[in-house]
């Protein structure tokens, strides 16, 4: 075989091109690399890695790097710093009130662009996502983020203790008080076990507020409504459990340790807390789960984060990011995510899938959480909510520690919060 001068040049050019395409990254046909920042540590980290690996195997053209960035607080700080320095990731986990700020700064792109795009979701697929979750991802009528690891507050109780005392998990505030009375134990003038524990946090109060028919903001969203009679009564209820009835104590740490030691029979926590409670209890008793006890209306508080695509990413990365998000929030992935981490599945079809049903038959305690989803409420998804949470926290501390009456503390907090809201553009 003879190769002429020209032929040789052609071959050389082809070889060069081939080598170049192997060396040069994206753009020359190589895989698109995207980064995904998250705050999932402990048992949650492997669960994220598994999802990512599955996706990478199924999509040879895309490489997703899932990167743990610390607690949510640190994630938020890193995210803002990275946006400021122009080096954000492609995808990030984020709370709704962070999203509000990032939208204002044009740092993220609307999820809706992709949902309605060529590789998008049908109307059916979209409405399959629980409405409350979609609502929390929607800002001014546009869906900017996608619900990913959503949780809600539930009540954990020591099932063995309840059985021994012939008690049923509390459905209402009155039940909570009565059960707590029954389970509080005194020995030699010293309480060795409490029925319930009060963490002086924003969320403990907000749960009382909404199960008492109260609301976060007044209609129109210009002023807060948490200092309503419903809120005052809710906060007073927590205080009474501690001070008047002496069936609960105040704790400034996770309650799982005391729960495991048998020092408290019930506490409020979000779904992923189960993995930690189980590790702490170490099989000494069964953990029961019930919806949050209510007074006027059944309700619970939605928690957990969504995911968003950053505006700085190049179009190919954004498309790849959407593909990844579509995958992890798809029926199969969200079902498995639920069973691994106890976060809520984000789709109805996932909740009703055979896999989930079989799982629920074997683990009926998870029903309480899933059922609560129908009555879940979302805190306002505005940037100011971050600081308002701290303002409420301080009011709760003031009231629980007896520095102010519940009403006074909440009224003072409302003044501060309203001032913040009035500055909102």
């Amino acid at each position: 075989m003879q190769v002429g001068r020209r032929g040789f040049l052609r071959i050389a050019a082809a070889v060069l091109l081939l080598t170049a395409s192997l060396i040069l990254p994206a753009g020359a046909g190589g895989p698109v690399t995207i980064t995904f920042w998250h705050g999932m540590s402990g048992v949650l980290n492997p669960a994220i890695d598994e999802l990512t690996n599955d996706f990478n195997k199924l999509n040879p053209g895309i490489v997703v790097n899932a990167q743990y960035q610390g607690t949510y607080g640190t994630l938020n700080q890193k995210l803002v710093a990275a946006v400021a320095a122009g080096s954000p990731p492609t995808i990030t986990q984020l709370f709704p009130n962070w999203a509000d700020q990032l939208i204002q700064a044009k740092a993220i792109v609307p999820m809706e662009n992709f949902i309605k795009g060529p590789d998008g979701l049908s109307a059916e697929e979209l409405s399959d996502i629980f409405p409350i979750l979609r609502q929390e991802s929607t800002f001014n009528g546009v869906m900017w983020t996608m619900p990913f690891n959503k949780s809600l507050y539930i009540l954990f109780y020591n099932e063995d203790l309840f059985k021994q005392n012939n008690l049923k998990p509390p459905a209402t505030w009155d039940d909570l008080l009565n059960v707590s009375k029954a389970l509080t134990k005194e020995e030699g003038g010293r309480t060795t076990r409490y029925g319930f524990v009060v963490r002086p946090t924003t969320d403990y109060f907000l749960l009382m507020l909404i199960t008492n028919g109260g609301d976060f903001l007044k209609p129109g969203g210009k002023e807060v409504a948490f200092n309503s009679p419903a809120g005052v009564e809710g906060l007073q209820f927590l205080i009474d459990l501690v001070q008047k009835h002496k069936v609960a104590y105040v704790l400034n740490a996770f309650a799982d340790a005391d729960f495991a030691a048998g020092k408290v029979a019930m506490y409020l926590v979000t779904n992923p807390g189960l993995a930690f409670a189980r590790a702490a209890v170490a099989g000494r008793f069964e953990i029961g789960i019930a919806p949050i006890p209510y007074k006027k209306s059944r309700a619970t508080l939605l928690s957990g984060t969504d995911v968003a695509i950053m505006a700085k990413a190049v179009p190919e990365q954004q498309v790849a990011a959407w593909k990844f998000i579509k995958f992890v929030t798809g029926t199969t992935a969200t079902t498995r995510w639920f069973m691994k981490t106890f976060y809520m599945p984000v789709r109805r079809s996932a909740r009703d899938s055979t896999l989930a049903r079989v799982y629920l038959q074997q683990n009926p305690e998870h029903r309480a959480g899933l059922d609560s989803l129908a009555v879940a409420r979302t805190a306002p998804n505005i940037a100011e909510w971050q600081e308002i949470r701290d303002i409420i926290q301080e009011a709760v501390e003031e009231a629980v520690l007896g520095k102010k009456t519940a009403k006074q503390a909440l009224d003072d907090a409302a003044v501060k919060a309203n001032k913040l809201l009035s500055q909102r553009k």
């Binding site: 803002v80 010293r190 600081e387 701290d390 003031e398 520690l401």
Partner: protein
């Protein structure tokens, strides 16, 4: 030929150049990563900036005015001052007491010394996790368990508005005691034995020895510890961050915590920087004041 001796001026210039060459690595690193950010922060303190908004209006001294009128910031100022004076006021006599004990030529002294120093080398993040546990409120925490053994009712520690700051002060003393002891020991060992012998011949007792020999001759060391402790104390942040989150009811909210909150939680960078500069001014004034009031009482001539 005799080499020409460079003129005095040239020699001075050369020595200057050589000195700057020696300083160059330090100046580059400190300039880029320590000094520049401080200057940068000053300009930021004149802006309204949330870090990610491209619009960052110039507001002059408005952030400083806001800081002085802000109840939260004033609370932080009060808390920090309380922390600084009480923690330094307790730590120094305590460290001196142990240093004097450890300065005796007895067996096992180096073991004690090492034990006291261990907390200082432990990461505060790790130590705080253990302390948080010790301070668990009600009768379930380990400290309360121990109190219960001696018949004292359980305390709420970090949850109690009055006890939270003292509890933090206790951890901070625990953590810095070893360092102060070592510095004091160094100071004690540099006092010539002759002074003691002379005083003993005059019939001085132990207290008189301490009062008239040790204390004055140790004053440079005491002064040094006082200055660095005060600067450090006004910058207190890690302990409230890890132990209390600034609570309860902002009772452990310190100035740097407030800076962190405004800057990294609410993303008011301009305002946070203004608070930082206010803190700088306070530390600067206090350091100068200490120099004014105390420097002439320090006996450097040993």
């Amino acid at each position: 030929m005799i080499p020409r001796v460079p003129s005095r001026r040239v020699r001075r210039l050369l020595e200057n150049l050589e000195a700057y060459a020696f300083l160059l690595p330090a100046i580059v690193v400190l300039g880029v990563f320590h000094l520049f950010p401080i200057v940068f922060a000053f300009f930021i303190s004149l802006l309204k900036w949330n870090m990610i908004d491209p619009v960052r209006p110039y507001v002059g001294l408005a952030n400083y005015v806001q800081a002085l009128q802000d109840d939260k910031f004033r609370t932080a100022l009060g808390n920090t001052t309380y922390y600084a004076f009480v923690s330094v006021g307790l730590a120094i006599p305590l460290a001196l007491f142990f240093a004097v004990l450890l300065n005796r030529k007895l067996r096992g002294m180096s073991w004690y010394r090492t034990a006291f120093f261990i907390p200082h080398v432990t990461s505060l993040a790790a130590a705080a996790m253990v302390w948080h546990w010790l301070y668990n409120p009600d009768q379930f925490g380990l400290l309360n368990y121990l109190l219960d053994k001696v018949g004292i009712p359980p305390q709420r520690w970090l949850l109690d508005p009055l006890q939270a700051m003292p509890a933090i002060i206790a951890v901070s003393i625990w953590s810095s005691l070893g360092r102060d002891i070592v510095i004091f020991l160094a100071g004690l060992q540099s006092i010539s034995q002759d002074y003691y012998e002379a005083a003993q011949i005059d019939g001085a007792n132990n207290w008189q020895l301490f009062r008239h020999v040790t204390w004055p001759l140790l004053s440079p060391t005491t002064y040094f510890i006082l200055i660095i402790s005060m600067i450090g104390a006004f910058k207190i942040f890690a302990l409230p961050l890890f132990l209390t989150g600034g609570g309860p009811i902002s009772k452990t909210l310190t100035i740097v915590y407030s800076i962190y909150q405004q800057g990294f939680q609410y993303f008011r960078m301009g305002y946070a920087s203004a608070q930082a500069y206010t803190l700088f001014a306070i530390i600067f004034l206090i350091t100068m004041l200490q120099r004014r009031v105390l420097a002439h009482r320090v006996h450097y001539d040993i």
